[in-house]
């Protein structure tokens, strides 16, 4: 079959999965909550403080303040699409209908992920970029590289959770446990980060924060721009101020981790999943 011939079945599968994942009015509801999450849960007054003295630091704090609210909505959409949607299709055997298309299994999984994560990200970025432009165009445009870096760092951990949830859903052929693990991992990170911070302060070693930054590089970026609790008191100062290239290295490492887990998911779906 030619590439042209493969394109149409792929689009058919993609259209079918998008139709399933975003049945009316799910897309509309999530768009509504993305907007509310972006504006209602962000607080510039709380985040923009004297800790961030440079323009890059201010741009970082504004962007991360905007991201935090709608990231919860983004994760809910991923939970629904992967754990509930894909999990249900595997459990009930609906996924087998896609195998009748003249497509390789990896193409079917790509279509599922494009719908589950790709469309969710498209909506996320569309609303976030518009919100940043509405609120602070004079910060976003001159500091575009910092804003992009903040988004790249912030999305790495949610994508890691998505990959873990995908692996669990594929392995167990149902989404329940994947969903619970995803929720626990998402909320546990802030607790683990706080513990790592206090361990770093007490032991005067940033090792735990560095390990944590491989999983969630937003911490490396935060310490690079001078944020964190270290601004509150000199007693709580962490002996770690990564340079920009170090922060980039952590972001790169975290995406390698994410890509490896997704690759494992592809291998399992293509070769090991007996359906």
């Amino acid at each position: 079959m030619t590439n042209m011939g493969k394109g149409k079945p792929f689009l058919e599968v993609l259209a079918s999965t998008i139709h399933e994942d975003y049945r009316f009015p799910f897309l509309e509801l999530f768009a509504f909550f993305y907007i509310l999450g972006t504006f209602v849960l962000s607080s510039f007054t709380g985040t923009v403080s004297s800790q961030f003295t440079t323009n890059e630091g201010v741009a970082y704090s504004l962007a991360s303040s905007l991201i935090s609210g709608s990231l919860i909505v983004f994760m809910l959409l991923i939970f629904k699409n992967i754990a509930y949607g894909l999990g249900n299709e595997l459990e009930k055997g609906i996924i087998q209908t896609y195998f009748s298309y003249p497509l390789k299994r990896r193409a079917i999984l790509t279509a599922k992920l494009l719908s589950a994560i790709g469309v969710a990200m498209l909506l996320f970025f569309g609303i976030q970029i518009s919100a940043l432009y509405i609120l602070a165009p004079d910060i976003v445009l001159p500091q575009l590289d910092t804003v992009i870096l903040t988004y790249a760092a912030s999305l790495s951990y949610p994508l890691l959770i998505s990959a873990i949830m995908l692996l669990l859903t594929l392995k167990l052929r149902r989404g329940g446990i994947g969903l619970v693990v995803g929720i626990v991992l998402y909320f546990a990170m802030s607790i683990v980060a706080l513990i790592a911070f206090f361990v770093a302060v007490a032991s005067k070693s940033p090792l735990f924060l560095q390990i944590l930054s491989v999983i969630s590089p937003t911490y490396a970026l935060q310490y690079h721009y001078g944020g964190g609790l270290s601004g509150v008191s000199s007693l709580l100062s962490v002996p770690w101020a990564p340079t920009l290239s170090e922060a980039l290295l952590y972001i790169g490492a975290s995406y390698v981790l994410v890509a490896s887990l997704f690759a494992l998911g592809y291998i399992y779906f293509s070769r090991r999943l007996n359906l």
Binding site: P25, E28, F44, T45, I134, D138
Partner: protein, 194 residues
Amino acid sequence: MKRWTTILGRGGTTLIAISLALLLVSVVPSIQTHTSGGSGPLGPEGMRILLNAQNFNPQQELEVAVTVEGTVTVYLLEIDLELNFSPTAGFGYNFNSTDLQELLEEHPDRVIWEHEVENGDYKRSYIPTRVMNATVVAYNQPDSENAYLESDVALQSGLAPKDKVRNIAYWVAPIGVILALPWLVNLWKQRKHK
């Protein structure tokens, strides 16, 4: 054809949802975080600092209202002032009319807006598009006569610039309705047919 109607229709309903959310954001009331007011005479070359706000950000709105008898110029300046204490005068800013003149001549880029008020009321609000230090100053020019100034300055914290958000919602909603209408009509016909 049917697929395109569905894609455009769902895009339209999403735009309607976005505009409803934006309208909801625009009606959430702001909280007044700072207010200062006062009245008194202002002689020639006299200056009064009405407000000094640090880290004034895009989620905040400054509202200035002044009533003047005589002629007074009101400035919004992008400067950060230090508060000093002296045993004789108490707390005060280290910024006087000479500093203001110097700033106006040497750094006109620090003036965000200025307005001369002559025997009347003046109201203005301002929402920044970045994080800045803002100072509102009332100044009586050296060639003017004695003036009487009554001022009321407030700093409000909200979710987003209300007018901007509301305008976007007003533009987005009709586009959404136009896109969604053929799909909604199709959906209604299908249900009626069933």
